[in-house]
Symmetry: C2
Subunit: 428 residues, 2 copies
């Protein structure tokens, strides 16, 4: 029997409390499986006396997470504070400098500073693991880094923000407008302090960049993500999409092309038969495509105390068992800078146009689309009020740039009552 693996936990929010619970409740299992006890030496959080769902009085208390990271009786520092820099990053840096392994659930920090931290961790010879940072309890980091390590990865996709998926599916099932469901989500505590991290697609984009780095051997590049949130999606968009056999999902897609690394996080239409379509609420799904494995689909809870703590504990158990692995699947010194490229795939698009109800408008729209080389597959005009007619057009596969050009022409014509919306149709 080896010595116990001694943890220091920085941050006692949902995830930290979940980890403490697992370590207390499943202690015998953890020891049987890793061959050593897994114990907690010390914890740190903003408020020592806050009432928590679990008793932490057995563990040493540190007001300062950086001090916790330096403790001699800590082998592994769990950074569960959050925030892309500040105390979280300081804690991770202190832990690495002190030669301790780090486990974090912090996608924002890694998306912005992952390369720098990976270089430091690898130079210090410690692990920096982050299964909990992407898609909650779904073991996607391990699948990509380890299980699929023999594959040339061709594409990674994912629905990875439970809050956005909750909003979109709740709008559909309850027939409620975006603003009302947004407020509901806020009251339920589903939204980050800055809601734009969720509904702006930023949080999901952070996660996508971590998957890209592992998949394509590139340095994390958040600035290279084409980013669009869900704020412009209306209940009508959802209904019209469903009528035409689609559902709307905030989907991240990453692929490497000759032009560079394409990363996008946008609301898209997926066919009703896609495995992505039936995802409800906080469920996440990640799709990984490799040259040998083909398509692997992973699904599970994308957030919450148990699932996220389960992911943290997977990393803890790896370290207890002696795993030694680079942060992004190959040495950070060998990760190439990612040249960002714009989405190049041809795809069909769904266009939502609210047309002024005057003669000749449809002809103008059709002409603008034709002039940009966009060909119409299906079109449908929905019942309308006195001044504006909602039209949904499904195009034949075309370039995103062509639709954008058509939209610029249409904007100049003054024939629409609202900004048109384009959503690509992803055949996933």
């Amino acid at each position: 029997m080896s010595d116990a693996l001694k943890l220091g936990i920085a941050g006692l929010g949902t995830v930290g409390v979940g980890v403490v619970k697992i370590i207390r409740e499943n202690a015998a299992l953890l020891e049987a499986r890793s061959g050593r006890q897994v114990t907690i030496s010390a914890v740190s959080a903003r408020s020592k006396n806050k009432s928590r769902d679990v008793d932490v009085s057995d563990y040493a208390w540190e007001d300062d997470p950086v001090a916790l990271a330096k403790r001699d009786d800590v082998d592994v520092v769990l950074e569960l504070i959050g925030g892309d820099s500040g105390p979280a990053k300081a804690t991770v840096e202190a832990a690495i400098a002190a030669g301790k392994h780090v486990i974090t659930a912090n996608k924002a920090m890694l998306a912005l500073h992952g390369q720098e931290l990976a270089l430091k961790a690898e130079a210090a010879g410690v692990n920096l693991r982050f299964e909990a940072a992407v898609a909650g309890g779904i073991p996607v980091i391990k699948a990509l880094t380890e299980s699929l390590a023999g594959n040339n990865i061709t594409r990674v996709m994912g629905v990875m923000n439970g809050t956005c998926n909750y909003i979109l599916t709740r709008m559909e099932s309850a027939k409620l407008p975006y603003d009302v469901v947004f407020e509901e989500a806020n009251k339920l505590g589903y939204l980050e302090a800055d809601p734009n991290l969720d509904v702006g697609g930023i949080d999901a984009a952070h996660k996508l960049t971590l998957l890209s780095s592992i998949a394509f051997g590139t340095q994390v590049n958040f600035d290279g993500v084409e980013l669009e949130g869900i704020g412009q999606i209306t209940i009508e968009d959802i209904d019209h999409a469903r009528d035409m056999g689609f559902r709307i999902k905030l989907l991240g897609i990453a692929q490497m092309t000759d032009a560079g690394l394409e990363q996008s996080m946008r609301p898209v239409l997926v066919p009703a038969a896609s495995p992505l379509a039936p995802l409800e609420g906080g469920t996440n799904m990640v799709v990984i495509e490799g040259d040998a494995a083909g398509q692997i689909v992973l699904r599970g809870a994308g957030a919450g105390e148990g699932p996220t703590a389960s992911a943290v504990m997977g990393d803890v158990m790896d370290i207890a068992r002696g795993l030694k692995i680079t942060v992004f699947g190959q040495p950070a010194t060998t990760l190439k800078a990612a040249k960002a490229a714009r989405t190049s795939n041809l795809s069909a698009f769904s266009l939502r146009l609210n047309l002024k109800d005057t003669p000749g408008v449809m002809a103008q729209i059709s002409t603008a689309l034709a002039n940009a080389g966009v060909s119409i597959d299906r079109m449908r005009q929905f019942s309308h009020n006195d001044t504006s007619a909602p039209v949904m057009i499904v195009t034949h596969p075309t370039k995103r740039a062509a639709v954008e050009a058509a939209f610029r022409s249409i904007a100049e014509m003054d024939v629409t009552t609202e900004t048109p919306l384009m959503l690509s149709i992803v055949d996933a």
Copy 2:
């Protein structure tokens, strides 16, 4: 840069050829990711001169896989021969005895001899890895053993035999009877030399026992599986199930109860909305439920050259990176003997009865069910010929033993023209 990791490949069938291809085509990726070259020293197969899809003339040839396993220039032996004992087992034993790591795709061998081989491997301090043995390219062994190691696993389920799923879904889509589709599958090379391994559920049950061992910390126990194949499923069963909102899948379920380890592999009905329902052809799906992670669903190709070779290469890369782990997730010396228990969960059942078309038969059936404590939720009689009326009954949740008792009474009554069929409805 460490020394190269040198492989010896025993067996050059579909999987072995796939592995050779990956090692040749993705050599640079493998080296970048593992920090060392991955090379092949020697290969072995039944026929040296057989025409193969890949050139193996660069590698030393051994007629005898046991000799290959003992070679000094081999660090890891890949046992891709197959068969539950014979040369496959001899090769694995020789490799372990020679202090070499072993990677195998051989579920039959592990299901029958896994405990013995795990004890040997762990005593010798070598890895015995088998990701490719279960569900092809889906990383389920790693997910269960490593990612979910913090969880008390509550249930494992899976559709894990692509041939059975091909037959069932092909019967449905092409409206063809079992015998015809069975012959099709045979001609396509989907069936094992002994087809009963596939359609009898044995192959899938082998896989289930490996998952059980990891999930519940028990010794592999194939004899404890309640086993039923798909041979009795008719096209009418499939159609009637669909009419009532279900699909038929050969599903394995394992769970630990106070009475012991329940393992079953049987055709069951799943609701059309279940993630298991849309699985077509050779696609596999595994569902793992843990106390912290909740439900994790993994889906991908369950067989084939690329997917299976991808799984083998995941294990190769783990070993190249220095992974050291017990075979079934905890030391084999600590795995408990699994006391087999029969399925205890209450479940609804679908009963197919072909009733003689004479007055009073339905009353007799209803009475037999009532006497056994089986309560009818829905019943439907389908159009029938002169002598036999097919009836589908969906019961309220009840014990399997109660339905079996009712079936025994019905058998004594001489009111049916065929043996009745019971399929549990699994709400997965």
